[in-house]
């Protein structure tokens, strides 16, 4: 359903194929214990089954990530900066 990108500056980008609209309050809630996450935006949310442990430190340090929502493999519908929140 998507993937994370990590660059040399420690910034993280989440690529996502979904149908919900990204709003201003977009946030990624990470459960560190189960290494899973939930992307929430407005009333919508989407589960992310697995967050690789190597991503946890950069996400903690930056406290935000880019999210790109696509309607197909190439065309980006929407992009947003999302807050990272550790909940577990």
């Amino acid at each position: 359903m998507g993937c994370f990108l990590l660059n040399e500056l420690g910034e993280v980008l989440l690529e996502l194929k979904s149908n919900f609209r990204l709003c201003a309050d977009t946030r990624l809630e990470i459960d560190e214990k189960s290494m899973s996450a939930e992307l929430k935006s407005g009333e919508c949310s989407v589960k992310i089954d697995f967050v690789h442990p190597e991503l946890l430190l950069p996400l903690k340090q930056n406290r935000y990530l880019f999210v790109v929502e696509r309607n197909n493999q190439f065309y980006a519908l929407n992009t947003k900066l999302a807050k990272v929140v550790f909940v577990g």
């Binding site: 994370f4 990108l5 709003c23």
Partner: protein, 465 residues
């Protein structure tokens, strides 16, 4: 195609992680990124890395296999497959071409000084872009910029060039109405206008903090937990209120201000290192006489926007009411408040029904129960106590008489609180001050004091200041 988010990812290496456990990370090496501009990274990533089949096949030697992939073909394939007509006629510049553009830049004579933010034609576009590349090289010699800032100029110029597209099959024929080309033009136009004025060119405003800033809301959950715990502890509330409203806590006098300010900057440097904060643009310097928001975090709520904070600090350490607090201590105290602020504080749908005054306003007010002030104020008290003793050559464990907090019949010495909290800081090396306050041992002591019980064992002697 909104590819602006990829600008930040044009570094030497990008690693890709799937959202399924059984797929190994995949590396887009420098060689691939050299060939792949943002468009291509997007398609390469989704086609190669996100496909479990491809990734599993390549997992043992992913980077060597990926080197043989022709990403230009992938780009064309995707454009045709999804019938992206607007992209069919365009193509990005290759990395080699961009490097060549930078190294062998031969700018025409700059005649356009109008800065009217609109490229007139392709010649005008290249005039601004090529002179902008030259200006990027010139700012490297600037004496007012530091190494990091100069590097940032280079990186941004590189990103801007990477996002341009040309008419397919041509060398440098540009669609000047293309969104990304326009962005590149506007950036270089701004660079030509402002040169090494870092704040104007790269739009870094000193003292302006938004939700992207690393400190914003870093420990807001710790504050929420503390606030919840304190609701049941009336003594802690009493203590917080009494401490914050007692100006005897500003124990350092103006006579020692020069030395105190200097030392406090060393404290600040150490604290920032512990907190892993590198951005020194988080505050601006001002004076309490001229600035109503000096020495405070001001919250700027504007209609339709996320909340922004501004942090101004009196450059001499002057505090309202004629007191003094070393500048480094003020910065630590206020940044601790920034860390308490809950993120995602944007306007809500129901705010549409409210008036502008209810939604858009500026405020520097604090929580009237003083709970948000409790941690930062205790931290300032303990640090300033240690700084004062350092200047005077007094042992850090000695309890000095700065004044008292009154709770019913009981009096608590501020010096006693300062030494005790200093010990708590050493005992619980938490980065979040509210997490430290929420420790049972700490809350219990504060609650007893606030309820008028001073049961602390006094092993140290009091000395007059």
């Amino acid at each position: 195609m909104k590819d602006n988010v990829y600008e930040a990812f044009l570094t030497g290496k990008i690693k890709i992680f799937a959202t399924h456990k059984d797929i190994k990370p995949f590396v887009l090496s420098k060689n691939i990124i050299k060939k792949a501009t943002p468009f291509l990274i997007a398609s390469a990533m989704t086609l190669a890395a996100c496909s479990p089949k491809n990734n599993n096949n390549n997992s043992s030697n992913s980077s060597s296999n990926s080197n043989s992939t022709d990403y230009t073909e992938i780009y064309q394939e995707v454009v045709h497959k999804y019938n992206l007509t607007s992209l069919m006629t365009k193509e990005p510049f290759s990395q080699e071409e961009i490097n060549d553009m930078i190294i062998h830049n031969n700018p025409p004579v700059l005649v356009d000084y109008n800065f009217n933010h609109c490229p007139e034609n392709a010649d005008n576009f290249w005039e601004i872009v090529k002179n902008g590349i030259e200006a990027t090289k010139m700012v490297q010699k600037s004496s007012i910029l530091n190494y990091k800032q100069k590097k940032e100029y280079q990186i941004v110029a590189f990103r801007m060039l990477s996002q341009m597209t040309r008419v397919k099959g041509t060398k440098d024929e540009i669609d000047i109405s293309d969104y990304n080309n326009l962005k590149t033009f506007l950036y270089f136009e701004k660079l030509l206008q402002y040169g090494d004025d870092y704040e104007k060119v790269l739009e870094k405003d000193q003292g302006l903090i938004n939700e992207q800033t690393e400190v914003f809301g870093r420990y807001y959950k710790d504050f929420e937990i503390l606030d919840k715990k304190v609701q049941k502890l009336s003594g802690v509330k009493e203590f917080a209120y009494a401490l914050y409203n007692n100006n005897d806590r500003f124990m350092i006098s103006y006579q020692d201000s020069a030395q105190a300010n200097k030392l406090s900057k060393q404290f600040l440097e150490k604290w920032m290192k512990t907190q892993n904060i590198t951005d020194e643009n988080l505050w601006y310097l001002t004076t309490v006489e001229e600035d109503g928001f000096a020495n405070a975090v001001a919250y700027w709520h504007r209609r339709g926007k996320n909340v922004e904070l501004s942090l101004g600090v009196d450059s001499r350490g002057n505090v309202d009411g004629g007191d003094f607090s070393p500048i480094g201590m003020i910065i630590i105290h206020e940044l601790q408040h920034v860390m308490q602020k809950k993120p995602a504080s944007a306007e809500k749908p129901e705010d549409n029904q409210k008036s502008d005054d209810d939604v858009a306003f500026a405020s520097s007010s604090y929580d009237y129960s003083c709970i948000s002030e409790l941690g930062p104020t205790l931290y300032s008290l303990a640090l300033e106590d240690r700084l004062y003793k350092h200047i005077k050559g007094i042992d850090k464990n000695e309890i000095l008489d700065y004044g008292t907090l009154q709770f019913g019949q009981a009096q608590i010495k501020l010096g006693e609180v300062a030494v005790w909290f200093g010990k708590m800081i050493d005992k619980y090396p938490e980065n979040s001050v509210d997490k430290l306050i929420a420790k049972d041992e700490v809350l219990q002591q504060l609650n007893q004091w606030g309820n008028g019980h001073n049961n602390m064992l006094r092993r140290s002697k009091y000395v007059e200041r």
